[in-house]
Subunit: 235 residues, 2 copies
Amino acid sequence: MTRAFAPGSVAFVGAGPGAADLITLRGAERLRNADVVLFDALADPALRALAPNARWIDVGKRVVRLKGGDPSVFGRLEEELAALAAAGIECEVVPGVTAALAAAASTRRPLTRRGDGRSVALTTAVTRDGKLGAGRHADTEVFYMAGKQLAALARKLVEAGWPATTPALVVSRAGWPDELASEHSVASLAEATLLHSGRPTVVTIGVGAEPIAAGARRARLVAESVAAEEARAAP
Amino acid sequence: MTRAFAPGSVAFVGAGPGAADLITLRGAERLRNADVVLFDALADPALRALAPNARWIDVGKRVVRLKGGDPSVFGRLEEELAALAAAGIECEVVPGVTAALAAAASTRRPLTRRGDGRSVALTTAVTRDGKLGAGRHADTEVFYMAGKQLAALARKLVEAGWPATTPALVVSRAGWPDELASEHSVASLAEATLLHSGRPTVVTIGVGAEPIAAGARRARLVAESVAAEEARAAP
């Protein structure tokens, strides 16, 4: 089922969003067989129990192998892959659960919804030069690491065309035992600043921020979908 | 670390994209303690070894609990959550690795890139009434369930403003041992139809479809980023 972990090779492993048990079985197996684990500040100390025989080296922000979340989403993976390719060192990438998915799971708010939730965009709100940018790209938009600038994010969202009453969900430390989640609208997003201060945060805007079975509108949409499908399936 | 799995409750578990070892440790633990597992056609038979004591019930497409990928992304989770809430049955959602992340990992093409890859959108190309829709929502766009309509998707992408030369990556059965991946441009996307025929397929368009270290442009961008960061970090 699993490709062997070749000696002399490097595995990039997504540790998942936080709690050590949200790593995949494949990721855990790679840790078990590792001689050296390079990790960053995001990794749960409980992960160490999965690689008891390895040397664990904290490499800080600049070079990491065991990455929080998923290596392919806001993990700056491309720079490390390029360096390994240049050095002729073999590698693989083991995917993980990214924070947007963990926040959706723990708050029971699916990112996609039938009918009016056909797309979800994952975006970093802060550009390379430190500026804040926010658009309206999809039915549901999840902003990573936006915790410090919620008031500015709210302004940018309104400028980008999101109605001020659009549902907004703020989740910090998604997937950890001390996760916090709070509900707002785009207009009142700044209220969340104090609660989530100093914690890694994802902000979900749009359809995917709505609670399930909240009102007649969604129930009607679901009923219509089911009826349409039954009509199509009928002989 | 893990909340207890209460008797009489339901856990929605994301099985990950395919291979059984891409489920999370938490998902595997829930299977180990389950009395009944409801699953759909997407689940890897090898997962059964993780729940040897449970009754496994194939519930087809309409009601599922063990879901392929991540339950919150194109999993139609909202309908099942609403039904359980109406019936007063407790539940939890365990996230998983969604196909877009698995495809990025196995092809070593990160979905986000510093500088020009700030956002990634996950979209279903087919609407509720069976029509094909495609826009230009983010720097990288991943289309789910587009395998049968690649020629039409290419036309819609050009209409939406994607240059015909934009890189396109097609991956079918992402995360499985028999995964197939092929490289195209938006203009030549239809070429992929035969190779991936009859297989669950994701199509990645834009920056995230580019190979790493492909050309001078990306190397220059990365070098600029590093120089800018070092300049900022200097005392």
